[in-house]
């Protein structure tokens, strides 16, 4: 065949709606529009729903306490629960997650204890958990850098015939960084078992998608790396779960990486110190609040008879318990040991650092004395 791509693209590519399995109103999408994907089983969806509700409650609590100044900063993922939880629910515990600052609720769902997640945002240390313990890398701040770590990790596993996969979250804004491109391309060439989940929440701080790229959709990037790309309704947990599951299976089968774009929306400010009134209409936010991913899944589960009052109560309790644990974790005075600053800069101890450590200790001792 000798057709050619030698014409301006808008002519070539069809309009595309993001894949969804459950519609806005909580109704199942007709089978022929599901593009071969199946709605996950009710038990699975109920588990996801539960995690989403818990996550929302936790996120709300953290946001509130951050406004009170109890945390140094917190980027909320409110409204993105379907993307966040749909994704990690599809992972096995031994798959590694490479999250960003935005993805605390995904990290929470992976089982990392609240106090360990808050360490970074409260500011007692940069990363609070042991990544090896939870198969979850530190939340990356330098944008897009984690994409490459995920590819390298996955490639190492592949070289060792270790049947795990990695998942990297990345935001729409961060896809503009060179590292995102390099990561997608390396993964394609090396057929790394990695799933890239782009959470297109349509803003990078104040910058809207339209100023970020002229791409119809970010899933289109996949074409340029010779790997599959999916454009998914990021507020439909069922679709996210189904597509990530398929991509992880593919990765584990040795068929390489996948890019999945989850189209969603950042309903909260970028972080507590942001002021969205400067760059977007409140009405747009309201429109998206109305597309709440938790409500959508809830309606579906209710209509399928999978969510009765006792389950609801149980989930509410779990959510409240999580919020309470969160508050308690924050009430614990952080254990701050300035001497630790010098402990792990290197594996191999350095005399010069030990001297600097000793000097600080002397200073603190003197200070303590002078205050007596």
């Amino acid at each position: 065949m000798s057709t050619i791509l030698a014409t301006p693209l808008p002519i070539e590519l069809p309009d595309v709606e993001p894949l969804r399995l459950i519609g806005d109103t909580g109704k199942a999408v007709p089978a022929k529009q599901r593009h071969g994907f199946e709605i996950p089983e009710l038990a699975t969806l109920l588990g996801i729903y539960r995690s989403m509700v818990v996550a929302r409650r936790w996120d709300t609590q953290v946001t509130a306490l951050t406004r009170q100044g109890r945390l140094s900063t917190y980027p909320s993922a409110r409204g993105q629960e379907a993307s966040e939880i749909g994704t990690v629910s599809a992972m096995s515990p031994s798959d590694w997650l490479f999250p960003t600052y935005r993805d605390s609720i995904a990290v929470l769902t992976r089982g990392v204890p609240t106090a360990e997640i808050l360490t970074g945002f409260r500011g007692d240390w940069h990363c609070g958990w042991n990544p090896h313990e939870h198969a979850t890398a530190p939340q990356a701040t330098p944008l897009a850098t984690q994409v490459l770590h995920a590819v390298g990790f996955a490639t190492a596993a592949k070289l060792k015939n270790d049947p795990i996969a990695t998942v990297a979250f990345i935001g729409d804004g961060a896809t503009s960084e060179g590292d995102a491109h390099e990561g997608f391309n390396f993964a394609g060439v090396w057929q790394a078992p990695t799933v890239f989940v782009i959470q297109n929440n349509q803003f990078a701080i104040s910058v809207p998608y339209s100023k970020q790229t002229r791409a119809r959709m970010l899933a289109d990037r996949a074409i340029g790396y010779g790997i599959p790309g999916f454009h998914v309704d990021g507020n439909d947990a069922a679709a996210v779960y189904a597509v990530v599951t398929a991509a992880l299976d593919r990765a584990r089968r040795g068929d390489g990486p996948t890019i999945i774009e989850c189209l969603t929306y950042r309903v909260e400010p970028h972080t507590n110190s942001d002021d969205p009134s400067r760059y977007r209409d409140a009405s747009e936010v309201e429109k998206w609040r109305a597309k709440d991913p938790i409500e959508r899944l809830e309606r579906y589960l209710v209509s399928e008879g999978a969510l009765n009052q006792s389950v609801r109560d149980e989930i509410s309790e779990a959510a409240e318990a999580t919020a309470k644990a969160m508050r308690e974790a924050l009430n614990q005075e952080p254990k701050l040991d300035p001497m630790e600053l010098f402990e792990n800069v290197y594996v191999t101890k350095r005399a010069s650092l030990q001297a600097q450590q000793a000097a600080l200790q002397t200073e603190l001792d003197l200070d303590g004395d002078s205050k007596k």
């Binding site: 970074g120 500011g123 007692d124 330098p142 804004g173 503009s176 910058v207 800069v345 650092l353 200073e363």
Partner: protein, 339 residues
């Protein structure tokens, strides 16, 4: 309109800004007004006015063709600014924090710094790279780096940093008017510090250091965020009978050997302050070059009172890392004052 015609002092006196943030904003506003080739772009510098609001209102008042949000990619920002400067524009770009300038390191070191030399002077790159620098605001990881040593070691770059609103205004305007590319480091912990009403600083070209307090016993060499620290130390020192001369370098590259040398020849002792790690930090250059030139005038070795050789700590621990007046005085007392 020839940009050189409007005098800095006039524009400035019209409305003396109170905070450094306001001063920087006014400098950009005046630059945009006086020269239609000035453009401003970067991450969030448009409608939001930057995460620190330093470009507040500029997009509204000058429009999308003069002040706009770019896609999120620092190498892209610097690389396209290079092309614009080649064309004849005067781009002023913002790196959101020091650590987020690192993706642009190659463009800065291999092109911004070298284009003029590479082309025997044929290609000029009049551009300003604004970087909110250093710690002191409890920023989470990657938000408190001090990157000056990387830039000052790179021939072809000019690196300046103001410590007060008056300098912030005049130095930024001078940087935008300069035909050389300038790294402009803004000490973010001082964005909201107000100029003391009483201060009437003299105008000074940005390549000159300023003696901000005179003293006889020791020269404290500071810049950007450590100038206020040095002044505070001098106050404390005075109470203990130590007469401290404080220098604000203002320009890190070039280095004002004259002003610093004259001070050290008077006091015979010096210490340099910065937040960055000590090893290979900017203070090493200061100590080395001042010692080379003034060795026989020095009664004791030049001290470096700096951050430790560790990554910048998490917010709640930064106070143990950042130099403080007590630490500085203790260090000064470590000298053999009998000599």
């Amino acid at each position: 309109m020839n940009p050189q015609q409007s005098t800095k002092s006039k524009t400035q006196s019209e409305a003396k800004p109170l905070t450094m943030a306001a001063a920087l904003n006014r400098a950009m506003r005046d630059a945009l007004t006086e020269n239609e080739n000035v453009v401003i772009f970067g991450e969030d510098v448009g409608p939001l006015g930057g995460v620190f609001r330093i470009t507040d209102g500029l997009n509204r008042d000058f429009g999308e063709n003069r002040v706009w949000d770019s896609p999120l990619a620092e190498s892209g920002i610097i690389g396209t600014a290079i092309g614009m400067a080649m064309y004849g524009l005067r781009p002023v770009v913002e790196m959101q924090f020091d650590a987020f300038s690192y993706p642009a390191f190659e463009q800065i070191v291999s092109h911004v710094a070298k284009a003029h030399n590479r082309t025997r002077g044929a290609v000029r790159l009049p551009m300003v790279i604004r970087i909110p620098t250093s710690g002191g605001i409890g920023g989470v990881e990657h938000h408190s780096d001090s990157s000056e040593a990387y830039w000052t070691h790179t021939p072809g770059l000019t690196v300046v940093t103001p410590s007060n609103p008056t300098d912030a205004y005049s130095m930024l305007l001078e940087s935008i008017r300069s035909d050389d590319p300038i790294i402009f480091l803004e000490p973010k912990s001082h964005y909201w510090t107000k100029e003391p009403e009483a201060t009437e600083l003299e105008e000074l070209p940005m390549n000159k250091a300023r003696v901000v307090r005179e003293g006889d016993d020791v020269t404290l060499i500071s810049y950007g965020p450590t100038v206020a620290l040095a002044l505070k130390t001098a106050e404390l020192g005075a109470a203990e009978g130590l007469s401290v001369e404080v220098i604000d370098l203002r320009s890190l590259s070039p280095f004002d050997d004259e002003t610093v040398g004259a001070s050290v020849r008077k006091t015979h002792r010096a210490a340099v302050l910065h937040e960055a790690a000590q090893f290979g930090g900017y203070g090493a250059e200061v100590a080395a070059r001042v010692t080379e030139r003034e060795f026989y005038h020095l009664a004791s070795p030049i001290l470096r009172i700096t951050g430790a050789d560790i990554p910048f700590p998490a917010p709640l621990l930064e106070k143990f890392y950042l130099p403080n007046p007590e630490r500085i005085l203790t260090a000064l007392n470590s000298w053999n004052w009998e000599d």
